[in-house]
Subunit: 193 residues, 2 copies
Amino acid sequence: MGTVLQRDAERTRRALLDAAATALRTLGPSVSLDVVALQAGVSKGGLLHHFRSKDELFAGLAGEWMARFDAAVQTHLDPADAEPGRLCRAHIRAAFDDTVTGDDQLWSDPAVLAALLAVPEVLRRARESGVRWRSELSADGLHPDRVLLISRVLDGMWMTELLEGRADLDERHRTRDILLGLTRDTGPMIAAE
Amino acid sequence: MGTVLQRDAERTRRALLDAAATALRTLGPSVSLDVVALQAGVSKGGLLHHFRSKDELFAGLAGEWMARFDAAVQTHLDPADAEPGRLCRAHIRAAFDDTVTGDDQLWSDPAVLAALLAVPEVLRRARESGVRWRSELSADGLHPDRVLLISRVLDGMWMTELLEGRADLDERHRTRDILLGLTRDTGPMIAAE
DNA sequence: ATTAACATACCGTCCAGACGGTTGACGTAC
DNA sequence: GTACGTCAACCGTCTGGACGGTATGTTAAT
């Protein structure tokens, strides 16, 4: 049968990351390793076996966060869509996906993101991904001004959710539809021209 | 002559807040009171005289930040502008003001903002201001969709600067002009209709 | 003299990380 | 198939230092 890891290391690693995210959301970046370990049902020694330092734990969190982000975008890529702006549309649909639930919901909590970005080392890593996403979106075939606007709005969603909580469904749908319209050349033009 | 405060309490208070912001940017929210006090040229006892606890210091930081934000918007309010969207335009011009310098620049550093928002208590206060700004902008006489889009983009600027650094001048100007155009009913329409 | 504005010394707690152990899975040899 | 070596996965404890906050002095303005 499938290789069952000895004592399921991967499982505990996941549990540790989930616990860290949970604790981060409620306690901010000042969480202690003890709390995370306890929450994950592991001793502190066990935690330090998987992440040799607190920074490494945070780095792992950042990696997990970005991996989930990439995966979410990938999920929302429409195979039937071959027109310019398809990647933008995937980003938009991923950002406004309201069907996420369970553990995944934790990782889309803006408070977790804020706590993560407050850690200088994490911020450094996030910047690298930031420029990658930027270049990918730029190569999506849309007018630069449209990409510019869409990117800023998507970024803004995080900040807005952090400051005002998640908006009601109607507003979210309006925002999403405006953005999706911006990805269609037939949609209302916004760039000066 | 003008009331010179005894031993210039106001001055040291400012110095403490500036030092806290500086330390916050480089060290994240785990900054210690000792570091802040040292940086401000004050003993820890002196710090605790002005801010009786660490939370109070953070609360003071948040208050200062929001006060500076309000002041910046106020500065960019055009008295000669009486048309709908004047408050939105002030927000936009404030967000894209590149002439800020010196101490003020520190307070417009997104890393400071991120570190602040990671503190749960600060986040709570920020939320109150968030809904206030929102209602003010809604009463600015513009189409709701336009306000929606503009607000999101302005919020997004913080996140973008945090993740990618400040964009070059050309891009900033383009973004600003797009937004300013959105505040004019004669500008290109974006709302479905 | 009184009070605000600091400084100094100190205490109790918390916490990151080190360290030495223990347990269980897996291969290997017989 | 069983005894054994080995290595990753994990546990529990300890410690040195950092850190928030208190308690108490000291100085300057009014």
